[in-house]
Each structure stands twice: as C-alpha cells, then as structure tokens.
Amino acid sequence: MSTLYRILVILVVATLIGGLIYAAVGSGNSTSGLPAPADGQPRPEDGESPEGDSVLPLGVLKSLVIMSIAGGAYLAAGKAISRKKSLTPKSLIPNH
C-alpha cells in the first residue's frame, strides 16, 4: 500500500511539473507555420532516415565523453573548494 502511495506521490508531482511546463510553452497551435507531418513520416528537413542507419554508435561515444567531462569538471571544482576549506585552522574541524 505504501508503495502505491509513493508511486502516486511521484506521479502527481511529475504531472504538476509537466502541466506547468505545458502551460508555459503555451501549446495548442503550431508556431512553425508548417503543416503537421503525416503519421510515421520523417519530416522533410530530416537529413537522415528515422531508422537506424549509422553503424558506429557515435552518439553513444559522444554521450560518454560529455558525461565524463561534466563529471571531471565537477570533481575538479569540488577539489578546489575543499583545498580552500583545508586552509581553515584545524582546531575548527571536529576530531582534529
């Protein structure tokens, strides 16, 4: 029962946030002036076919590189901050 309740809480929060985003975007009419594409058809401006046509998963590599850079930058920033903190007198740090 409590799991159901938790799922409900997550879904309600997600719906509220989604509703806010939807309202903010002010959806309902096309701002592009283009007609809606026919069901299942790729849009005319699509360079590639919607079916997988790339053999090397370059997108996966790209994602891994970007995530690693973000993580590395985060760690470097964290280290820089803790180096600054370690300059504070040891007596202020508990257990030292």
């Binding site: 997550i10 939807y22 975007v25 592009s32 919607p50 997988g52 370059l58 995530m67 690693s68 993580g71």
Partner: protein
C-alpha cells in the same frame, strides 16, 4: 550485500545502458528510441522508490545546518527529475511512433522539438554529475559483486546497507 543493493545496482546499470541507447536515436531508429524511453520512465520511477527513504529524510532536514554537500546533491536530483519530465513531455509531443500507435494525434508545435533537443543535452551533463556523485558506490558495489571487495571494508562499503546518507 543486501538484496536491495543488488536490485538497485542492476536497475541502475540497465537504466544507464538504456539511457545511452536512447541518447542515440540515429543508431537505434526512432521506434526503439521512443518505446525504450517510455520504459526508462518506468525504470526511473522504480529508482526513486528504491531511494525513497533518502528523498524523504533529506526533504525533512533540508534546512538544518551542515548538510551543504547533500543539499547540492538534493538540488541536482531535482534538476534531473525536472529535466526528465521535460524530455518525456517534449518527446511525447513530437512522437512519431508511440503516440500514433496509440491512435492519438497531438497539436504540432515546433518549440517541443527544440525543447526535446535542449533537455536531452542538459540531461547528459546532469547525468554525468549524478554518476560522479555516486561513483564510489558504483565501483565498490561492482567489486563486491565480482567478489573482489570482501576483505577490505572501505568507508563506502561500510555505508553500503544504509538507507539514508547525509
């Protein structure tokens, strides 16, 4: 290792692999992209249920002193959640497989397409930070699953069965 940690670990690894596939729709094709992304939504829901105690505890103690790092992590998790909602919503609004398969048509608004692209790019950065935040847990759990981390109990391992970390 507790059963819940094994479940967490397997779910997290599969979600991550799923995320990488979804981030590359040109390789997978649009239909796989959309259906897998919908399934990922379910996986994230379970991920949140498995980390429920942390969410509740930190929400309660958010304004107490000495929670700086945890507070930053808490905000990061919220950003990840909000960005996830934006990706799913914008994805649904531009869907060419899932929504037509359900016999539905949605109003066309090209803003959703740019938002989908933008939120997916932001998610890469946020996911990089989220994984970095939990890197020691991932490494120690991998070692234990491979049977290589039994003898030496590092602080990360000692915290392994915790429900809540501050």
């Amino acid at each position: 290792m507790s059963k819940q940690n094994v479940t967490k670990y397997l779910l997290d690894i599969s979600t991550f692999v799923g995320f990488l596939i979804v981030m590359d729709p040109r390789t997978s094709g649009l239909a796989i992209h959309e259906w897998l992304a919908v399934a990922l939504g379910g996986a994230v829901l379970v991920h949140l249920l498995l980390n429920w105690n942390w969410i509740v505890e930190i929400t309660k103690r958010l304004f107490t002193k000495g929670l700086n790092g945890t507070r930053a992590n808490y905000i990061l998790n919220w950003l990840l959640f909000i960005d996830g909602i934006l990706i799913m919503l914008s994805g649904i609004m531009i869907s060419e497989a899932v929504i037509p398969a359900l016999g539905l048509t949605l109003p066309v608004n090209m803003v959703w397409r740019s938002l989908h692209d933008l939120s997916a790019n932001i998610s890469l950065i946020l996911m990089g930070l989220h994984i970095t935040q939990h890197w020691s847990w991932i490494v120690s759990t991998t070692k234990r699953l491979l049977g290589r981390g039994e003898t030496k109990r590092t602080p990360a391992l000692a915290m392994d069965d915790r429900q809540v970390k501050a």
